[in-house]
Symmetry: C2
Subunit: 1000 residues, 2 copies
């Protein structure tokens, strides 16, 4: 039995320290006699070429149809696909021949199906799983996108899916391999997470066409991916296999109902007996494939999108193929076919005991041809991308408050609430055609609707817990549209309170901007202390964007300070009686030396503007005494319409292909207006009717905020537009820039360069775009300018010292990758085209210390404070402030997950949020005492889990793989947890705990 083959012993588990009796099993009792996983693989022949036929279906959790339309097989006029029938059919067919195998991937679908089955079918399926005939791979709720997802949501969705499998099937339901056959490029952080989730290997289908060719020649399509520069190998090492045909069967061997390949006609009495011809063709195919892989095992993915709805077609012909090809062994053939699974194939690769090429970079960007770079989807559907990110923040708050509120959170004065709906909605949204923006419009609407519904259920939890903690059941109002100054309560009320819940484990200072109609307000904090607040006029851009959804003329601005994992409450009162008549907005000013404030000096920053253009001209950090030239403006690339001599590829939802490498400038100069108060200073820039920006500086902030508003992007010139903002600086970047991977570790990017092959660059812009999930930076020896984004976007550094970020895309053509719609977003509210608003936060720091700023800054954007409002005066016994922690966590530690697991246990993830090289101060191990963590929860037991919480950490044994050339990692000191209750986190480490807790 090879390492990793033992089954998860779920009934007993290891307490790494004793602290009471933990009795919750991870899944059903393990039954004796189960032969699943590696043990259930068919035998292979050591002296032959073994062809692993892997029947599979690829079921998008929404794409051309919504997830439920796919489940039911509704709207088959759009695409023939019905997952309920796939699972029905596969189960039937597996029962017909015990040799047959099937893998299933997307738990979002399997879960829907399972709960509709009779107990008889459920028992049958369980038996198939226990015999390894039905095997789950990947097993997350969906197959997440890798370019536009945040690690927090990815870990959640994997946990959700794997938990269902574990609780339903136990160890035999635990996937052994990760399987990302369709995502459009592959993130290193995903590989790192998969390694930490205990997967023995990883398979995918898409990589750059040049990379593919080189790897085929070098037999490096199977490799070892070292996916972290901070974690000690092999913690983030992941064996990675690149599948031979994407995820499709070899040409001519597709026997799904959706294919037209000839079936095996083996009845000599009927016409066109073709067994000999099929066998010959197959042997040719297999032998060809074997030449570009290392071992005497090859894998063939026998399936594709939504295939196996009628599994009989596939299996009947595969049975015949196996029979007839293997029958040739009697005549000396050296090819052996078998039904297999990715894990069975992986087992054979592991048994081969070879060394494998080591890879430390990632697989972005993905190009399937010279002019076909899949870098548009990094930005596609920017509004959905932001809504997904906000929803994640809301869900984490909901999860935390469900824990802190206990049972009172789920049933209370605001009714019954739960977080499951939102967890599922967020999990679905991670799909590689969801947050990626590559789905049809009605499907995008469905994702958003699901998130909104999830949030409605979560709001009840949040309100109930806040009611319990504050002892006030006064009505709580949520204002989800503060970004466009819409909140009817604050706009009309003379007295209200705002409660600010902070989901971070550190106190935060946060600017609050509330739409109001009054001119003057008083604000007091939880201690009754007056807070500096200012009223500024609502900007023209906001008034135009919000249309009739709100009519407040002013915004009340003040800074709040919220405790870790807790809330505080501010009281607001109008100082005059009744709202005054709306003042006219300040007139826009032409840039001029007299009208524009050329220099803004704040506590930490100095910003200058060019008085001739109204554009930014420099940025200085007053603490570090550093300064750079900084010009920023807005541009658009003319999206290719496919009429091009080099290629007919259009820009579309997936593909970014500018018609020219030179973007058009929207306006050389900005009309500006200025706002200057003690709390905030703003320069409002107006570039065109569809592009504006507020350069905003809060007095006590170390970051400069650029709030951009883009849209409706005009298309009356019949030109698709891809709108960017570009920062041009004096930093000497030497062709380098840096982007994060899924919001965590940062990777270096170099223009017109790939670390693992000799790039022939054919798209000078699109071929230099990379995903930016939470931040990007440029630096030289002395200056680092970091841009923290509020959503995933694409960007690049085309010129030295320059960083551009794509903000919005409006396209007129489909890019022929299946979605079948141009990315041309409109809505009821925006019939002329979607308007999108977002924020970039800029920090200028010395490189060795830059992370000390951008790491917490980015977390504040990801997990933003949650505001709730109560009209009128609060009752005197209201508890105005609360923290769920005994103390703030150290700066390096991020509380990634706190969520109810079952009735008396919670799942906790603590994360070291610095890379090992990032910070002199923070890139050190740090220790946390779990028993002293919570203020209101008594931790009576703890056990550590793998990252996806479906295995006890100490039982997680993974295959060991040997790299060809082991780049020795820096010698790291090994830390032992200093005491039984204390856990140590090393750079970039995430540790996952199941805590048994009592409410104190």
């Amino acid at each position: 039995m090879a390492a990793g083959q033992q089954q998860l012993s779920v009934a007993s588990f290891f307490f790494f320290f004793f602290s009471g009796v933990l009795t919750f099993p991870l899944g059903p009792e393990n039954k004796s006699g189960h032969v699943c996983g590696y043990e259930s693989c068919h035998v292979t022949k050591h002296n032959m070429l073994n062809v692993h036929l892997v029947p599979h279906t690829h079921d998008d959790v929404g794409w051309l149809k919504t997830v439920d339309q796919y489940y039911y097989g509704d709207r088959n006029d759009i695409q023939h696909a019905g997952v309920q029938y796939i699972l029905d059919s596969v189960v039937d067919q597996l029962l017909k021949n015990p040799d047959r195998r099937f893998i299933y991937v997307e738990t979002a679908f399997f879960f829907r199906w399972w709960k509709q089955q009779s107990s008889g079918v459920q028992q049958t399926v369980t038996q198939l799983v226990n015999q390894g005939r039905l095997e789950f791979v990947n097993g997350g709720w969906c197959m997440s996108d890798e370019a536009t997802t945040h690690y927090s949501a990815v870990i959640d969705q994997m946990t959700l899916g794997l938990r269902f499998l574990n609780e339903t099937f136990g160890s035999c339901g635990r996937p052994r391999v990760a399987w990302h056959i369709d995502p459009f490029g592959h993130a290193r952080e995903h590989a790192s997470m998969f390694a930490q989730m205990g997967y023995d290997g990883f398979f995918f289908g898409r990589l750059d066409y040049q990379d593919r060719v080189r790897r085929m020649l070098a037999k490096e399509q199977e490799l070892l991916w070292r996916a972290s520069d901070s974690l000690t190998p092999p913690a983030a090492d992941l064996f990675t296999g690149i599948l031979p045909n994407g995820y499709n069967p070899p040409e001519g061997f597709c026997w799904d109902q959706s294919c037209d390949d000839p079936p095996i006609r083996d009845d000599p009495d009927l016409e066109d007996y073709n067994v000999d011809e099929v066998v010959r063709r197959f042997l040719d195919t297999a032998n060809d494939q074997a030449t570009v892989y290392k071992t005497n095992h090859i894998i063939m993915t026998m399936g594709s999108d939504f295939q196996y709805e009628n599994a009989n077609l596939w299996y009947k012909n595969l049975d015949k193929l196996i029979h007839h090809v293997n029958a040739r062994q009697g005549n000396g053939s050296k090819v052996h076919l078998l039904y297999s699974t990715p894990s069975c194939y992986l087992q054979e690769l592991h048994r081969a005991n070879l060394t494998w090429a080591l890879k430390t970079d990632d697989f972005f960007p993905y190009a399937d041809s010279a002019h076909d770079f899949w870098t548009g989807f990094f930005t596609s559907r920017p509004a959905l991308k932001r809504y997904e990110r906000v929803s994640n923040s809301n869900l984490q708050t909901c999860n935390q408050l469900e824990v802190l509120g206990g049972p009172a959170s789920r049933k209370g004065p605001y009714g019954e609430g739960e977080s499951q709906t939102m967890k599922e909605a967020m999990a679905v949204a991670q799909h590689h055609d969801a947050v990626s923006g590559t789905e049809k419009q009605h499907v995008a609407n469905d994702y958003a609707r699901r998130l909104a519904t999830g949030w409605q259920h979560c709001q009840v939890v949040v309100s109930n817990t806040l009611a319990a903690l504050s002892r006030s059941s006064a009505e709580r109002i949520y204002c989800d549209n503060l970004n466009i100054s819409v909140c009817p309560l604050t706009a009309s009320s003379k007295q209200f309170s705002v409660s600010v819940y902070n989901p971070l484990a550190r106190p935060v200072t946060w600017p609050v901007r509330l739409p109001v109609n009054g001119e003057s307000y008083s604000v007091s904090d939880a201690k009754g202390k007056a807070v500096d607040c200012q009223v500024v006029p609502v900007s023209r851009a906001t008034r135009e964007v919000r249309k009739n959804r709100g009519h407040a003329v002013n915004e009340l601005v003040f800074q709040v300070q919220a405790p870790p994992l807790g809330y505080t409450t501010y009281s607001v009162s109008l100082l005059q009686n009744g709202p005054p008549p709306a003042p006219p907005g300040p007139a826009l000013q032409q840039p001029s030396r007299t009208s524009i404030c050329c220099v803004r000096v704040l506590q930490f920053l100095r910003v200058t503007f060019d008085p001739d253009t109204g554009l930014l001209s420099s940025l200085s950090n007053l603490e570090t005494n550093q300064s750079i030239k900084l010009t920023q403006n807005f541009y658009w690339y003319n999206a290719s319409d496919g009429n091009n001599s080099e290629s007919n590829q259009m820009s579309g939802a997936y593909i970014f292909r500018p018609n020219s490498s030179t973007p058009f400038i929207i306006s050389r100069m900005a009309k500006t207006e200025t706002v200057q108060t003690s709390v905030v200073q703003e320069v409002r820039q107006w570039f065109s009717p569809w592009a504006s920006q507020v350069v905003r500086l809060y007095t006590d902030s170390r970051a400069l905020e650029l709030e951009w508003t883009v849209g409706p992007v005009p298309i009356d010139d019949s030109l698709g537009k891809e709108v960017i903002t570009r920062l041009d600086t004096s930093i000497k970047t030497s062709g380098l820039f840096y982007t994060d991977s899924n919001g965590r570790e940062v990777l270096q990017r170099r223009k017109d360069f790939r670390p693992t092959w000799n790039l022939k660059q054919s798209e000078p812009i699109a071929g230099n775009y990379y995903p930016i999930n939470s931040r990007a930076f440029i630096k030289d020896d002395v200056d680092q300018l970091t841009v923290v984004t509020d959503r995933s976007q694409g960007g690049g550094s085309i010129q030295n010292g320059s960083l551009e970020i794509m903000l919005h895309r409006r396209l007129l053509y489909d890019d022929v990758r299946g979605v079948g719609e141009p990315l041309n977003e409109t809505s009821n509210i925006f019939p002329q085209g979607l308007v999108v608003r977002g924020r970039l936060l800029l920090s200028l720091e010395r490189p060795p210390a830059a992370a000390d700023t951008h790491r917490p800054l980015a977390q504040e954007v990801v997990l933003q404070p949650m505001l709730t409002f109560t009209d009128g005066a609060l009752s005197p016994d209201t508890r105005l402030e609360f923290s769920g922690l005994q103390a703030a966590l150290p700066p390096a530690v991020h509380l990634l997950t706190l969520t109810q697991w079952d009735s008396d246990s919670v799942l906790l993830r603590l994360e070291h949020q610095f890379q090992i090289w990032e910070s002199e101060v923070n890139s050190r191990p740090v220790t946390v005492n779990l028993q002293k963590l919570f203020s209101t929860l008594e931790v009576v037991g703890v056990s550590e889990l793998n990252l996806s919480a479906n295995q006890w950490k100490d039982e997680m044994k993974r295959y060991d793989w040997t790299p060809q050339t082991d780049k020795k990692p820096p010698l790291l000191k090994t830390f032992e947890d200093p005491s039984t209750w204390e856990v140590t986190l090393r750079p970039m480490e995430i540790r996952t705990f199941l805590l048994r807790v009592h409410l104190r």
Copy 2:
């Protein structure tokens, strides 16, 4: 238990006279405990509207793909269809819920599938059949075409299919209803046959749109069809139901994988729960349908072409539909859904005990809209139609000789032969997209190839038997291309013999035309007597048609006389030594009074030609002393290309739609050449490079032969052409003419008239076309001109005294009925377009005696002598003549079937071939003694069967139905069989016997 419900007791059967022990069962032992047929129907609710949901698939035995491509699911690029998977899937799904039902129709497919199943699957299927969950309907090898088939081949194909079902499943496998849901119009003779095959009812889908409307309003979509004017009711009475939606499900309720209707979404947790909406829609549909039918039962066909390949989709949704609709009964709904079959529905109609409208005409022509008459396929693919007819003749000869030769026929000096391949090929060719000509070109080629292959196997049987009977194993040559004067043996040999086998039960005189290169030959008959023979030059048309396939310059013509069910042998010797140089063909002559033979007088006929035009001008019968004016010429209709203000319907494989009602004449006059010998006189008419004719008169014939040759039909003018010949006579037809139904009973046709509804004629030509299977005639009180055809064709009588027959069609557009190809036949041999040759035989008689001529004449064309050739001199002990009968049968009796059934029994069908009103002489009962029938077979036992040979005649109990208005049939004298061995045949009666025989 209603009449007809008892099961076939196959283990015991009735001997209507004792003549030995007949022990062959018709099928497997009937098992006790089987509940199939009517007994297995679900209960209905008498106070509700019962909706019979009938899951079914319609599996064309070839159409867009060949029958084997359909079976395997090959060429799914053409059409997604794979019958093997349909049967796999349906069986699986029936097992999942015992309430489910399925009907299967086409035994050609079921047979292919069955033989590939394991015994376990076979047992399972048998159980499903025995429980009535899988029910066979129709059950022939295919669902035959009704317009272009000959009854002989239809009975054979039904017998073939039903025999398989009977032998495989016994009584539970016997279909209770006939099911012709797709054929394009319905023949009365088919209904008559179905009645005699024991079906309780008949359902179909297509009828004239005007007829449909009238029947809906009158609730006459269910009716009693009295399908013979000769057979005593209810022998040919057939309850007939017209299905509500063709054979499709009601709109919005198609849940096949090929459909896009919304599935039932019944999980309230998923989006778009639609149960209420679906139930409401369904109730509306059911109630609407109920208004146009008579009882509180309605039928819905839940399936369509090649559906149920993934039966789960259908059944899962039907289960839900039934559940949710019936659940409404708790709220007062009066609609009850049930899984059902056509027989279960029929049982309820029978129980309703109503009277039903009586119909005595047929359902031709079929129009689905005002300009969409499906009358083109009556003629489409005339070469295939002829080849099918010739093949039937060959098969009957093969069958007879298999019986007469006994085991020696199947294994002998010529190897191993069998008739099964040809039986199956012929059965497949009866399909309503086979001989109909409505298949794709490659499928038509496949049908022809199958017939050719079948004939190869049959040739061995024929040769072996002739060898046994003649005691000569000399090599036998078959010349299948004598119609174009190709036979290498006769063309080159100086001495050879020709053996003429006559499959009719009467002696025949038959002209033989053999390609030769000599000038002078001697021919002697079996008794050594010299026979008058003549050498005539091969015609220019033949030389052009045959191209390089033959080079004979002359034809040797003589009359042969062959004994009943036997052969005779003629010896032929060249009188000069070696073939002489080819003489130049006689020069064509312009019509002129001097060059054309104006009058041809023969023994029985006088024919005159117009010396100015070269066209026929009169025809006289010298025996009856009658004479008519007769002009005959060739024309073409310009096929509609769809560019028409009234309709955009094109002429195509199905549809005949001339652009104008006036056809174009090919040539007003014919160039002619004449041949005049003592055996035959010919006037060879040359109308154009693509239209010619030989008017041929054999000295002792009562029929005038018109051998037409048409093609390649030119299309360089981009006009599709539908070529007709038209006979214009002095007969006063008063708008009437007559056509046969499937080669048997004759129906009266009236221009612009339908017997059962008030016709609004919208296509003056196409709407007056009817199928002509073997003959058509026009008559008045004194003259009847009958045209016997050599294949099925379409024709009409547009003007008084006129009869036109469509010969060939070459079209440039598809007619949008699915075949997707224009009917534009070319081949390797005819790359410029197919050339077709055929014969019309004209007889002029007094109406009361006309059938005495045309009945035997038509049978001679249907069952033509089979010629075999032997080179050189025959050995002296060769038996030159043989008859299988002790004596010729009486003129009224046709030996329809003589074929081996199993090792010691043969199937015999004797037929009275006259209608009751047709002949003063022959329309009388006639008696045959079975024991005195055969010369070499001793009949030791006999039992009578139903027409399809799947039930003992005396056990065939059919439902009784009461017509609304019983047109009392003429009182017929009832004849008893005069003796135990003698059987009496009444007009149009076919009696089917299983004989136990010994070779004497």
